[in-house]
Symmetry: C2
Subunit: 350 residues, 2 copies
Amino acid sequence: MTARESRLEGERPPPVAAPGAPKKPTMADVARHAGVSLKTVSRVVNQEPHVRAPLQARVQAAISALGYRRNEAAARLARGATMLTLGLVMENISNEFYARLAAAVEAASAQHEALVVFGSYEESPDKERMLIESMYARGVDSLIVVPSAADHSWLAEHASLTTVFVDRVPLGLESMADAVLLDDVRGGRAATEHLLARGHRRIALISDDDGLSSVHDRASGYRTALRSAGLALDESLVVRGVFDPGQVAYEVGRLLDLPDPPTALFATNNRAAIGILHALRARPERPAYVGFDDFALADVFNPGVTVVRYDVTSLAGSAVDLLLNPSPEPRRVKVPVELVARGSGELPPG
Amino acid sequence: MTARESRLEGERPPPVAAPGAPKKPTMADVARHAGVSLKTVSRVVNQEPHVRAPLQARVQAAISALGYRRNEAAARLARGATMLTLGLVMENISNEFYARLAAAVEAASAQHEALVVFGSYEESPDKERMLIESMYARGVDSLIVVPSAADHSWLAEHASLTTVFVDRVPLGLESMADAVLLDDVRGGRAATEHLLARGHRRIALISDDDGLSSVHDRASGYRTALRSAGLALDESLVVRGVFDPGQVAYEVGRLLDLPDPPTALFATNNRAAIGILHALRARPERPAYVGFDDFALADVFNPGVTVVRYDVTSLAGSAVDLLLNPSPEPRRVKVPVELVARGSGELPPG
């Protein structure tokens, strides 16, 4: 039996107030009873100076009359707290993928009474390192990182720092660090095969920086699917290194203006899918398209946006599990993906 | 002069490496030079046990040969750190409003070298209190809260806790706490007047829990605009207490099925606007609508979604400013709002 279990067994459940039991008096009740402001009550309870004696006496009398007791939850928590604070380092929390990941990491951490500190590095590898160093310096010893920098080997200097990487393989630390990844190759392949099965032969790839393992693997699934279908890769249909939906919209317009344009598009992330939506708003063509990453409004568009999706809760839960159960050997967890057909990926070739 | 200023003046700027200067050797360089794994180097550098003596010697030799020095940034930060950790308590970070707020709070905090801990209470007032108590117990002494609970007077118990409320007035603490609010009354009025100016006379209101000051004030702006236009409020066109886009979609369908349906809708938050989009996807009617809160895809829909928007960076920046400059008197900052016409709010009556 662990120490934790024995402590729990030794504890009795807290008494439950009967439905008809009187409500515990609050500071607001004390203020009303004494006819003073809440601030005055707060000053008296917190033993701050400069409260005039008659006021102080009125507040004390109200406290006694109502049987008010200061809330001790905070003090109890402080005594029992394991002080686990988990750092979450991401590109940008206002991107829906990261916001969903943050929500899921927080929910998984709350189950272990851990708090989450977060930081965004906005595509800057220097800021990514600074953020991690800053969290480490402040006592954060458990980190979940969606890495972007080209080299993370410097992290090995902090032996006491337990780090789990999410979504992308950490370059320079492949042989040391835990990582929870999506089944990106399969996702890229499934998206492309879905389009091939509807008769598309000219399928464009719209992708981010393929130095990131996730982007690289999704593109690799795309190429495998084309090859398996006996099609040659047409480099003129491949767009790399575009991040911003505006850039993507421009590139999609350029592709659709080609003499022999694509009839379908595969976007390797949510921003690229949004860029496609932007581009198509202003154009008559109706190419099929499949995105990678689900997003809240994907089923509100007409047609709905067909995407490769995965369970963000499972992604975050696996990362927190690995953090809390460290192992000397590096581990890889692969989260499955699935294709959700909503309309945009089922359009026929022009 | 404050202690901080004098410390800063006493420091010299760190030397800047010349562009042509040799790259500082990393642990990865040491590992390559010694022909061992990064993990072995990490163990030696961190003085962990169980590294065989010959391996240890090889690593030490490589360290000397390359002039490798352990990164001391973390230690420096730890000495200089003011340990300001700011708690951010919100309903749900996966809602775009909160994600944007979190990103902006983080950016504003980073300018003051503060880290941000965040927590979501998912519409549960008990969880909201537990989260705040838990942050407090762990030494978080600066809080930004988007309040939802009906009573926050218990917060007065924690005199050392500096709290700024955002988006909504904290009930029970109105006379004590700082708050940064949107100009909700004006926003509700502007949205409704915009629709009135296009000739609409039957304008529905789709709103959240109007116990929240923001929702209450937006609805109050709506009523004021109708009254100023000489129109009576038709209670059958007012929907209250709907949160979920699915519920909103149901209510919009119900309104459009009325014998005398509304020709325009005003949604008091982003989820309600999304619910309207859901409902209209499946229906032939094209009522005009205006949302409150901008969202990333608002201009991708056709017509684009007309919204009341505001500067989230300014909302977050004001909150952080108030936190860092406490005052004995409670302060109210009102962030201006503006109407952005994108098409949906300019549709004519049926």
